[in-house]
Symmetry: C5
């Protein structure tokens, strides 16, 4: 599980609940009809915006915000170095056995291309094309949640407008004005939470995950091509470490940082 997401979700809910309880009660803030128009309206707009399969797929990716990154960059470098050692000692063909043990399909594909004797330029080409498609699919998933973050508050306001119009027709009973208006405002609150507690943060974390997956896969491509070129494992390590932030490099060797004074 992604720790930050869990802390964020739990603490956010706690803050909201305390904030409500200090001067009111939770039941006031739960209104089925308001939930229906905000969430339902947003879902309706999203269904018109996306084909059904993409709509369902968009909902499913929410799980990625809760999954921990399984592959860390230093691990990738260590794996590449292992593979480079195997290739050096036992030849490129020995990589095939190794490939079977790996979980990551992307490395597997790369190794199989190498073992097949594919030219370096073509290996790079095939893997980078794959990367471009992966990146474009990720971008669409982020777009999906950014759209939710746009439609949510809009439908919240639509709900509030419907509530206000109804309330303004019934001004004869002054006692009902307050509660009616308070219910009308609930949809705006729901829409705002949908955007700023759910959709935008999810889109941001998906972007973060995508960035780090792309970076990892670029590292992999460089590493595999170095292996194919028969480079020294020590040199490969140096080369790949240039891809990492100075603070992360240390977890591999004891190399000095590159000079960077601001905003590391």
């Amino acid at each position: 599980m992604d720790l930050a997401t869990i802390i964020g979700v739990v603490s956010g809910i706690v803050f909201i609940v305390i904030s409500i309880l200090l001067k009111g009660q939770l039941t006031t803030f739960f209104d089925a009809a308001s939930i229906m128009i905000t969430i339902g309206g947003t879902a309706a707009a999203m269904l018109i915006s996306y084909p059904l399969t993409k709509f369902l797929n968009g909902l499913k990716v929410i799980r990625h915000a809760f999954h921990q990154d399984t592959v860390e960059e230093p691990d990738i470098i260590n794996m590449i170095i292992d593979l480079a050692n195997v290739a050096r000692k036992e030849g490129l063909l020995a990589l095939e056995e190794k490939a079977v043990e790996l979980e990551d399909e992307f490395v597997k594909k790369g190794i199989l291309l190498i073992v097949d004797g594919t030219e370096a330029e073509l290996v790079r080409n095939v893997l980078e094309t794959e990367l471009v498609f992966i990146e474009s699919r990720h971008k669409k998933n982020q777009k999906f949640w950014e759209d939710v973050a746009t439609f949510g508050p809009a439908w919240g306001m639509i709900g509030t407008l419907i509530g206000l119009v109804n309330m303004l027709q019934q001004l004869e009973d002054p006692a009902s004005v307050g509660p009616n208006m308070s219910v009308a405002l609930l949809t705006t609150l729901y829409g705002s939470l949908l955007a700023n507690f759910v959709a935008n943060p999810i889109a941001a974390k998906l972007a973060e995950r995508s960035d780090s997956e792309i970076a990892t896969k670029e590292l992999l491509i460089e590493g595999l091509l170095s292996i194919l070129a028969g480079e020294n494992p020590r040199i490969i390590e140096e080369k790949l470490k240039a891809f990492l932030a100075p603070s992360v490099r240390e977890s591999i060797g004891a190399q000095e940082d590159a000079g960077e004074e601001v905003g590391a």
Copy 2:
């Protein structure tokens, strides 16, 4: 019919109607003058923004949001493989007969270019130029509905301002304040619905459709050029499948997925 659009439209209307009926009545929410200033004003602004033919064309593309995609990517690949087999066995000229049976004018054009003995580079050039023009026409149609989504709420607010000014001139009759203000708010509600239930979702689905049509046509270009190059149908299949999302690939063969952990 596009299922998602239908579900979206119907469920959206149901949610709005229920939301209104819970505390008011539908007739309060229908006001011909408010519809006139919101829809009419938006239409007027759009007419100043666009030449008449483009305005009418912009309205017509709304039907695309309701049409189901007729061509699926796996179908295209299967069609290309069929054509490749024909070309292999009976020669490129045999494709001409096949072309006549096809509905898609874009493939037809491509096949005819091939049959005419056009050079590969020129075939790619002609078809990609066509694609660029198709894409730019699609972009303009999306822009049309994005403009509606901008003008709608703006004219909704103009209507509300007119209503408020009129109301504020007649404050002597306190009983009329509520209903007058409620009517004034209706245009804002209409404008908001026009943007978030109609125009923005349509623009988004047009973009979605355009993306998938462009992707399909790019697949077609690659496939036709492979046929022209006399490549093995089996190789062509492998090559084209790299264009598909892993989940879609399965519907063609039983190929393994490329490694992608996040946001597929």
Copy 3:
């Protein structure tokens, strides 16, 4: 005259007037001081933003929103074919006579370059440089009206704030609150109309006109270069028709459409 602009302006005014008259009277909505602060303030901000000549020029281009496009793409193609026929039968020099009859300075310039025996690459260069400058001038004119659309509502709000501050100082007379507030809101209404009924639609139509002029001129460049290359008029026609939307192509020959299922 551009029909759409006329319909838009007239219908927009009619909708606004009806909307006002249904519950109030026109005189309430006319306030010289409010017009002064909204229009005057916007003009003042625009004068600080632009040098005087560009400010005056920006105002003048408004007429383009009302002019009908005089040159249609099919007409251009027909003209090019005529010229190609002349060049084929009587030689390139015969084009000079033809050029004198033409109104469009851009074609004239192109033909004179051809007649002068300029190399194809240089002709393309000179004409495309010209096109780049035309496009950049158009972009600035659109920017001018987009700036008006930004300053208009801002100064409308400034006017409303001035009105509200004055009103709040005179709360002792409750009877004046309504009318005073109603007048204060007028500037917001004016600013909103300035942006959404005048400036944004004008900017959009200027963009539309610019696009179609640029497309026409690109067609011209291709056509003139084909003439210079001595291509067959029939081939030129085919080539230039690829620049047109399928629906427009029909007005030239009886060619089939290129396959495009979505958003034509």
Copy 4:
């Protein structure tokens, strides 16, 4: 002095003053504390945003919005033609004397490079690098005022919120509600004026000035390189005139316009 800026500033102030005086008095609209929180808060935010030297430099560029462009494009062309004539008759070295008389350091630098016998490619390189740096410095100055235009209204709202909170704590005295609220609104008014009467217009005029300076300097580079190439002054004139808008060209010779129907 830049006439448009002067007219804009003066007319803007007149419009605001009249607008206030029609229904209130000027003293109501002057409140030292409100000015402090709006201007002071914006300045504080800008100081955190920029290093001190850049903050002071950003304030200083405001004078450019009031300065008239001293160099007009036709003057530049005439100067280039003069220089070209000198170079033709008396040789490139004779330009050195001429250079001493010129005020513009950029031309001076260019001429000295030419006199030194620098290669054409290097001259272009040096001058264009200089231009890139000039442009990036201009962009930062525009950004400075765009930031002021963002922080101004934000701090105006902060001031209004402080005022409202204070007012709501003292509701017991109904007579003070109006004036207190009116003072609270003043900061929003100040912030709005800071953005729409000062900062945004200044940023726009700086952009305008930068564009015209860059265009002038590009003209200079082309001209100097033509002189270095020993081109005929008459040819140089023709060449440089292609950089000008048709309407400006006339002030040099009596050349026909290039065909441009829309948005000149």
Copy 5:
């Protein structure tokens, strides 16, 4: 310490405090629950948006807004000239000793590459790759604070909505309406200050710092490559000075400015 940041923070706090004290008291403006929902909610949203390490790293970079730039461009140029003199007199290898004394890891890395006899093209390549990664890390840190600036006001509004709903449920006690509403507004005030007094200014100063660090490092790369090429220290000085703003150049030699009339 960065003087501008200190002045900005102190003066901003002073302005806010005075502004409050003129018509109210500080205690009214401090409300623990309001701080909790605004800051806590924003933090929760940021935690869902970013992995834990990036969240903590994002918070840490705030210190860069308070640090003074330690390296000034003229100092860099002087250092490069020193190194160039050493290299000229004692040979490239003598630079190694010098490198040990330097603090900046980036120069060190560059010098070591030179001493190792690396080819110029490869030195540039390695250092520029390093620069690209530094820049991308800086961009992410700015993005972090821009996200805070987006979530802050959003959660401020969520807090206000919760407060308003609670207040509207308790309208029976008119005396509590004012204070309750005033507390409800506090979260909007906090959110606005978080964005416009903290997050946006920090993001801007990080951008400023990043720009100047990148510019300095580009200067370094040019300088090191010139040393490697064995250029004359005097020539190197001239070359590097072209990277500086005219006003900064003077602090090195007594060179004339390049002509720039607007917006230096």
